[in-house]
Every structure is written in structure tokens, then in C-alpha cells.
Homo-oligomer: 274 residues x 2
């Protein structure tokens, strides 16, 4: 039923937001049918079924969990800091309960125009989470987002910046996530991937379409766009990363198609394009 | 008729694409009515009326020309190189005929997935233009575009990269354009503005909206978004730039409104927000 060779089989992970048209149970069943071994669940989808039930479904399926998405959103007003910290601790506990040791951090936008202060709040927020994460056996992966999300999703926008932030912590505790969609344009990309050696906790793939019709859900199926996927994968592996590769495609087009059709396209394209 | 104090009056330039609903003659008349002293014309708008007529209209109006937009688009297939070079030389001649000594370079996308080669072609293309530009008394301003345009408009996406490229040339010949919309998100912004000292050939303002609805024409009126306009202006001036400040707002919303209303809003907001 699957076109995956065994080398790809052990690497391909399906990030759940690629199939937003499905709930967690559908995604799990679909992955099992397609011969995909890894899954990357999202928090709001887990909450739809409840953590306990989600953890049971994942365990019963035999799928491995590559990462849990997401914690973060650190810059908040003073009176919200404690609540945000508690919520991020719960995200860590949920990651552990689902059987992964990686929590992806989307660091959040600034609450005002002062983007530098917001960036300091990110580092402070991570520092406060580290002890809890270490106790739970979960590492925190700082994911730089594309600069077009600097205003509404993440003040962390380059891999260099994520590396700088991560360097404040032990590599046992904090690393970075390399998502090609967010970093492919960066003139410093290959230098920064090399600098991230020993800190890469995840590698995500999709493609940049020309033209790109919308900011959030305009990503392309691997192979349909302009990103040098294989070159970036090579650099990430030369930097020591040999873990699962999450296919994470936020795409209004893919979300409108039958889930099994999307999965089948990913499975057949992965060995050729990634 | 104008709200502009005299300090602002001497700095504000209206980039023509802010008023795409108008032709060149309308924009010139509108600026004169609004008390704006500078204008930044675009090439396709000049071509609509013809260069000679455009140059005459500008001269008769008394407006000064802050820059001409645009040359560039250097990465092309081998057989297209000569034609592109000739076209860029014409853009330089047109800039001189219109009475400005600054040609804005939008450097263009790659013709394939090899973004590094495309970046080398940009530097080669600029090198080939420099003698002609020098003879015409025109300086070339490399404008880094926002990374969301890396696939379709410019492989030059950071001010650091533009500074690196410009450093291959004399500052009498090649400099950089700082457009807040394209660079506001950059963690290295203030360092790179400082590094650009003596090379800044233009400063453009608009605002980043949250949310941003589309990639090309989703810019905001100055003061409506999240960019620290005054702080960036301060840094650009500390780096020695005291020339005109172009208000360049590509916005489907502004394009749908009466031009005089848009101009009036810009004139009244400029002293407060820029």
C-alpha cells in the first residue's frame, strides 16, 4: 500500500496540520494505512479528544511521536506571565504523555511595537520553563518562523537568532527546529545550520509556491515550489540530525482534498524530493 | 492647504505607487496641491506618458525627484543577459532625464531553485552597470525586499546582504535603500543601518498591518501598524542620511480611495508618525 522505501519509511513524519480536515483519530488511522511510522500532533487537536484518550490512541496505533506542537507565545502583559508559564508547563507534560521528548516553541509576537523587549521576554520565558522540561524529559525546540509572521506569530525569525537564544542553555535542554519554509530565503542559512550542530531537534519540510497566494495557508506540496529541499536536508544531516522529518504543509488547497489522497501524494513524493 | 510643518515639508516624498489609481500627471498635480515637494516616479507609469513628456511635466511642476523605481531583475537565462543589461542602462538614462541621481534596484528572483547562483548574478549585473551609471551621474541603490518576496521579486532579502553586495563598489556608485516594510523584522537591523553609513541612498516608509491580508498590496498607512518608524528613522539619520523620505504604501485599500484623501492622510500623519 505504500510507496515508501525503507530508508524513507523510518524518516517521514506526518505533521498533523497537513491534514487539518481530519481529527486526530483520522490522522492516526490514515498514517497507519499509508505506512507512515511517525506523527507530529498539535495541541488543539489533542484537546479535541482529550489528552488521555489521545495518548491511548497514539500508543495503540504503534506510531511514534516526532514532536508536539506547540508551546511558546512568551511575550505577554505582566499580569499574564504566570498563566502563560503554567500553560507552557502543561504543554510540556502533554508532550511527555504523548511519548515525545520534543516540544516545539512558537515564540509569539510582541504585545506592542517594542520588538526587542519581546525578544528578551522569549529568552526569559524559556529560562523559566527549562527546569520543568528537564524533569519531564522534554527538550524545547525554538522554531524561527518566516519574517512575514513577525507581527502576529513569532518575534524569532531567523535560525541565527534561534541559535543565539539556544546558546544560553544546555543542548540537553534547548535546541532549534529547522523548517525549510521559514528559513529557505536566508543568506546565512547554511552557516547557521552548521552552527546548530548538536542542537537540531526537528526538521520540517514543505515548499514555497510562486506565486504564494496567502501568508498562513499558502504552502506547497514538497516538490511543487522553489526550495532546495535536498540541499537543506543534506546540510541538516551534516549537522548531525538523523531524526524524523516532519512534512508540515499548511495549505488551503490540501485541506480541501480527501485526506488519503494528500497522504498518498506525500508518501510518493517524499523519496524523490526530500 | 497643507498640514506639513516646514521640517517635514522638506523631507516627505510621495512614492508614486502609493497612488496607483492615478497616472503621473494626477500624482504631480496632487502633490503640488498638497504641498508635497518630492516625488518618486515608477518606470511603468513614466512609460504610460512617455519619458520626454514625463520629464517636462516634472520640471514644470517644480517637484524634485527623490529616486526612480526601478532597475534590476538581474538573474536571467544566459541568452537574456544582454537585453536585460540594455534595459537597465535605459532605466539609468531615464532616471537622469527625470532629474534624480538615484535608481532603485529591485534585484529580481532566481530563474531556478539555485538561489546562491542568482545572488552572484546580481553582483555581476550591478558591476556591469556601474560605468554607465557613473557616466550618467546616477547612483545605484540596492533595495533588499522582505523575505516573503524571495521567490518572485528579489533574492536580496536583508540589509546585511545588501551592505555586503554594495561593499564591492565605491560608495559614490552603489548604495542601499532602507524600506522599513522590508527590514523592520530583522534582529540585525540597527547594526546593519549603522554599517550602511555613507551608503544610504533612500529611506522608505509604510507600516506592517496585523493581520496582513496579502503579500504585495497589504501595506498599512504610516501609524496604523507595528513598525517602530521613528526609531528606524533615527537610526537612518544617525547613519548620515538626511535626504527625502519616500512614503511608499502598496495597499489595495488606499488604491480604492480618492487620491486626494490618501495624500491628505499622509500629509497629516507624517509629522506625527515618521
Amino acid at each position: 500500500m505504500s510507496d515508501l522505501d525503507s530508508a524513507s519509511k523510518h524518516r517521514l513524519s506526518l505533521n498533523q496540520m497537513t491534514l487539518d480536515q481530519w481529527g486526530l483519530e483520522d490522522v492516526i488511522d490514515g498514517c497507519v494505512r499509508a505506512g507512515v511510522e511517525w506523527i507530529g500532533p498539535w495541541r488543539h487537536k489533542v484537546q479535541e479528544v482529550g489528552l488521555e484518550e489521545a495518548a491511548r490512541m497514539v500508543a495503540d496505533s504503534g506510531l511514534k511521536v516526532s514532536s508536539y506542537c506547540r508551546g511558546g507565545f512568551f511575550p505577554v502583559f505582566e499580569h499574564e506571565i504566570a498563566a502563560r508559564r503554567d500553560d507552557n508547563r502543561r504543554a510540556i507534560d502533554e508532550a511527555a504523555a504523548l511519548g515525545t521528548d520534543v516540544l516545539v516553541l512558537v515564540c509569539g509576537p510582541s504585545v506592542d511595537k517594542d520588538i526587542e523587549s519581546a525578544r528578551r521576554m522569549v529568552v526569559e520565558g524559556i529560562a523559566e520553563l527549562v527546569p520543568h522540561a528537564r524533569d519531564a524529559g522534554v527538550r524545547l525546540g525554538i522554531e524561527p518562523l518566516h519574517p512575514m509572521f513577525a507581527g502576529d506569530r513569532s518575534v524569532v525569525v531567523t535560525l541565527g537568532q534561534a541559535n543565539d537564544m539556544a546558546s544560553n542553555f544546555s543542548s540537553d535542554d534547548v535546541g532549534v527546529i529547522v523548517d525549510v519554509y521559514h528559513v529557505w530565503w536566508d543568506p546565512s542559512l547554511y552557516d547557521e545550520i552548521q552552527r546548530a550542530t548538536g542542537r537540531i531537534l526537528g526538521f520540517h519540510v514543505s515548499d514555497w509556491m510562486v506565486p504564494t497566494e496567502e501568508l498562513l495557508a499558502g504552502r506547497g506540496l514538497i516538490g511543487d515550489g522553489v526550495i532546495e529541499l535536498r540541499r537543506i536536508r543534506g546540510a541538516v544531516e551534516a549537522a548531525g540530525y538523523g531524526g524524523p522529518i516532519e512534512v508540515e504543509i499548511l495549505s488551503r488547497d490540501l485541506w480541501s482534498r480527501p485526506g488519503d489522497e494528500v497522504l498518498s501524494a506525500i508518501v510518493s513524493r517524499f523519496p524523490e524530493h526530500v
